[in-house]
Amino acid sequence: MHLNGLTQQLDPREQCFRTLHLKPEPIILKRNLKETIIAATDTSTIKIGETPTGIIVAMRGAITWRQNRIYNYTRLGPFILHITEENKNQLYNALEKAYFNISYEKAHPSAPNISQMPTRLASLLERWIQSMLAKTINNGVLLFDGSLMAGTIDTPVQRLKEILSLARRNKSIVLAFSKATTLRVNGILITEQRLNHEPPYLVETTGLYSKPPQALLGDVYVARLNRSNLSFRLDIDREISSEGRVDALQKLLGNDLHTQSYPETLRLAHILCTFTANEVIAIKHFITSKHGIQIINRPDMHKLLFGAFGSGEVYT
């Protein structure tokens, strides 16, 4: 999930991972050219502005897939929501119910904070799109943005388990790429460890465990898909056999582009869902012209108090 204009915090949950090691011998990958659908999904959210009673948020999801060497996409949204203290529970509950037929109130006694609502709603949309992808694609490779960590406030274990299970049922394999990680071995990030091997390869990690109620539903690897200097954390569904995992990676290599060691399909999903500045202007135009809602320009306290030194935290 991508947060336009919102500071992306690295997950402190990862601090609970101890005794992490990288296997010294990488798994060397070869391209498998067998025609396989590569599909990816990502969502994006952005705070459009504030109103006297709450915030206006836009979110959008993108699904991209490569089939017969052609990239295709479906974009859902933008969905524009006016979130207030009064409607936030109702809104979240309605979306949970619509997407997963579960009432939020049953699962969570307390309401989400209004400032967390954009990420929570986008996460909800993302999980729904992932479940739809898992349901509809057969024998494919499904690329998710982020890790396969569940049991968090916005991703119940059961929900992610169901998505992975749906994918397996349709003979698809989920590969989750993280753009950033805090996992370190000997104080060095796992993605910055250098091996004297010719890419593409995977490096398996060991010694990772999660602290309940969180649950890591995938095994964590470091993937370096080409000669560029970039490596990524890759989570692969734990229920998939070792051969199946390698096969999925090799099909990905044979059916997708990897300009910076990152799958193009996932990159496109990210790009397509991101809100550009002109879209934000257009959305503001939409809410003003169609709904007559005036956005309040609150003074930027950082700028107001600290002048040129007040650019620490940037909100759109």
Binding site: P78, T274, T276, N278
Partner: protein, 486 residues
């Protein structure tokens, strides 16, 4: 539309696609608080620098450069708003005047409110009304983009120097014919140097019938129905032809002057007597040779005759058109360069003569591609000295650099058709009555038969109009090889 910037006399206005503003349109920027409004003309339409547009365009391309195939499920219908913002225009406008209490002033020194100003399109009829471009002698030039007529006042062409220019085939001659017949309609005397023989049939309709100008258009073809006898000529006119057109040196000119006076005293001012006199002349051989060669040029032109019945009295023709108006069309088609110069020298000399003696009030002279027959020194002469005599010239050319810069600087009206060549636009943009950006920007995009009118006739509000058609036999079409084969 919203006011964005003002720099000098240039306004930048943000406009949206639905507002349909084009180059050449006029806008009224009204500031109610100030009680004033700016009248500005759009000289360029650009994309507004909307942030994020580049990203928007780039992301629709995949790595291979092929457009991505996809579908947008947009239940809230935001996409039209995004397109609306992406297609926002930046209108670059030149301030033409300030309107205060229905009175126009050329000032652009005040700043209207950016947040409160209302901007709307100003129709050409309204602009014309404000600018008081009307008058008692209307000439309808054509239609403007907003379906109104662009009407100028014939009296604004009176006493002026005009230029009609544009690239080949865009309708310059057509406009000059339109101006010419309208002036004739208002009983003006018009003389046309018709380089391609296309003005001769202006008295006929397209289907060959006589029109209202039939009796007023008099076409003269040198050496055919336009010949003169030496007796009709004033010595100054002949000397003008010899010195300016035929480049006769000073000593020979003095000898000729003496010879001419002698023949005149004897009552023998004929071509044959002149030839004989030169043959019998007892003087320096070089002088004699110079005079002989000039005499042969005279004789070969076929323009001079000894037969009184063949000789045409140009003064009479001019006088006849003085009362009822008329056009003397001098058909210079099939005339050699030297002969053209002889004829033009003669006609101009005669005109100056008639005007000096107040036989004529004033003459409108239409000169097509004048560089082909007008000597260098005549340019300044025409715009300064002859103007005071009452010769009001309209130059028509597709090579703007053949007209001297001083002419552009003094031009009162410019009728500008399409030019794409930067050099041509640079030349025209030296005109004093308009800014270079307007000329460069608007003229480059003018469609065929559309003319940017600048100067006095439009009270210095440049206006684009499609020149109206005329039901006259124009004969200006280019002869084509393949025309009969299609």
């Amino acid at each position: 539309m919203r006011l964005y910037k003002k720099e000098g006399n240039v306004l930048q206005i943000i406009s949206f696609p639905t507002e349909c503003v084009e180059k050449g349109d006029y806008l009224l920027v009204e500031d109610d608080e100030a009680g004033k409004a700016l009248i500005a003309q759009v000289i360029d339409v650009q994309f507004a620098a909307v942030p994020g547009v580049l990203e928007e365009l780039l992301r629709t391309l995949s790595d291979g450069g092929e457009p991505l195939m996809g579908e947008d499920i947009d239940p809230m219908e935001i996409a039209p708003h995004i397109t609306y913002i992406q297609d926002a225009n930046l209108l670059v406008c030149k301030i033409r005047a300030t309107l205060e209490n229905q009175i126009l002033s050329p000032s652009s020194s005040w700043l209207p409110s950016r947040s409160q100003s209302a901007i709307k399109k100003l129709s050409i009829p309204m602009l014309m009304k404000l600018a008081k471009v009307d008058g008692k002698l209307p000439i309808i030039l054509g239609g403007t983009k907003d379906s109104s007529l662009l009407t100028i006042d014939a009296s604004e062409v009176d006493g002026t120097l005009n230029i009609i220019t544009g690239k080949k085939g865009c309708g310059k001659s057509h406009l000059s014919k339109l101006l010419m017949v309208n002036l004739v309609g208002y009983k003006a005397t018009v003389v046309v140097f018709d380089l391609n023989g296309e003005y001769s049939s202006l008295g006929l309709t397209n289907d060959g019938k006589r029109n209202m100008y039939y009796d007023k258009i008099h076409s003269f073809t040198p050496s055919q129905n336009f010949k003169v006898s030496l007796e009709q000529l004033h010595l100054n006119t002949v000397m003008g032809i010899l010195v300016n057109a035929l480049h006769l040196p000073g000593t020979s000119a003095r000898e000729f002057r003496r010879l001419w006076k002698s023949l005149k005293e004897q009552g023998k001012l004929t071509m044959s007597d002149l030839g004989e006199a030169i043959r019998d002349l007892n003087c320096n051989q070089h002088v004699k040779d110079a005079l002989t060669s000039r005499f042969h040029s005279f004789a070969n032109s076929g323009f001079f005759t000894d037969c009184p019945g063949e000789a045409m009295l140009l003064d009479d023709r001019l006088l006849r058109s003085k009362n009822q108006g008329g056009a003397i069309v001098i058909n210079l088609k099939n005339t050699s360069n030297i002969d053209r110069q002889i004829i033009v020298e003669y006609v101009l000399g005669k005109l100056v003569d008639s005007l000096t003696n107040w036989k004529l009030q004033a003459v409108f002279l239409f000169a097509e591609e004048a560089h082909l027959y007008l000597r260098e020194t005549y340019w300044d002469d025409i715009v300064t000295r002859m103007r005071h005599y009452g010769i009001f010239t309209t130059f028509i050319t597709n090579q703007p650099d053949t007209i001297q810069e001083t002419i552009y600087r003094q031009a009162d009206n410019i009728f500008l058709f399409n030019f794409t060549n930067e050099h041509d636009l640079d030349v025209v943009s030296r005109a004093a009555r308009v800014d270079a950006e307007t000329v460069r920007s608007i003229a480059r995009d003018l469609p065929p038969h559309h003319c940017l009118t600048l100067g006095r006739v439009v009270n210095d509000f440049p206006i684009v109009a499609r020149v109206r058609s005329l039901d006259i036999k124009t004969m200006g079409e280019t002869r084509l090889f393949f025309s009969n084969k299609n």
